[in-house]
């Protein structure tokens, strides 16, 4: 069973507000991923880290999101100015190495009113 922890489970924000969510990866997993699962249940990759370094991120994440994985602290994903289209389930996953299986947390469900 996955031991990835995500908080909060639910988040409600108004348009233009910041929305921040956190993830504690499985112990010993240096690689962390963020995905967005939209209302059609489609997964979109957002960003990934190896230890504290960003490996890859999509254009949207680069412009409107900020994310970090500091050592000895939870990873975080923050939307700087929430839009209605950001309403989705945000899933964090971790793995031992790039390309290996990923273990997912339960997600943070964001609703932007």
């Amino acid at each position: 069973n996955s031991k990835v922890i995500q908080t909060p489970r639910y988040l409600v924000k108004g348009q233009g507000q910041k929305a921040k969510m956190r993830c504690i990866p499985e112990k010993g997993h240096p690689v962390v991923f963020w995905y967005q699962q939209n209302k059609n249940n489609e997964f979109k990759f957002l960003i990934n880290f190896q230890n504290q370094e960003v490996l890859q991120q999509i254009d949207m994440t680069e412009k409107r999101f900020s994310a970090e994985c500091p050592s000895n602290s939870p990873c975080s994903l923050e939307i700087q100015s929430s839009e209605a289209g950001d309403s989705a389930l945000y899933l964090c996953a971790s793995s031992l190495a790039g390309g290996e299986e990923q273990y997912f947390g339960p997600g943070t469900r964001l609703t932007v009113l």
């Binding site: 069973n1 996955s2 990759f45 990934n48 390309g99 299986e101 997912f104 339960p106």
Partner: protein
Amino acid sequence: GDSVTQTEGLVTLTEGLPVMLNCTYQTIYSNPFLFWYVHYLNESPRLLLKSSTDNKRTEHQGFHATLHKSSSSFHLQKSSAQLSDSALYYCALSGRGSALGRLHFGAGTQLIVIP
């Protein structure tokens, strides 16, 4: 680029009938890693099966799949559906050993098993 295609968005089956969910892929990786994840409502997506070995059947919890590189396929099968199998199923791809390691997901197949 890399992509995964799941042709069925919704599969509805009667309990006891066989399950087959289709998955095909395109990839730049010579040694791709294919996965099936199952996602129950309000739970974490959970790994069901994985394989990077051509033509080798992999099994777990009654489900099985065989990676066929010649046809770029990794179909999920089960001989007899159970009510508890109702969930979202995702086929996913990564490049084994890829430093980037992100998963490329298919659109998902909602499986509904009815009595």
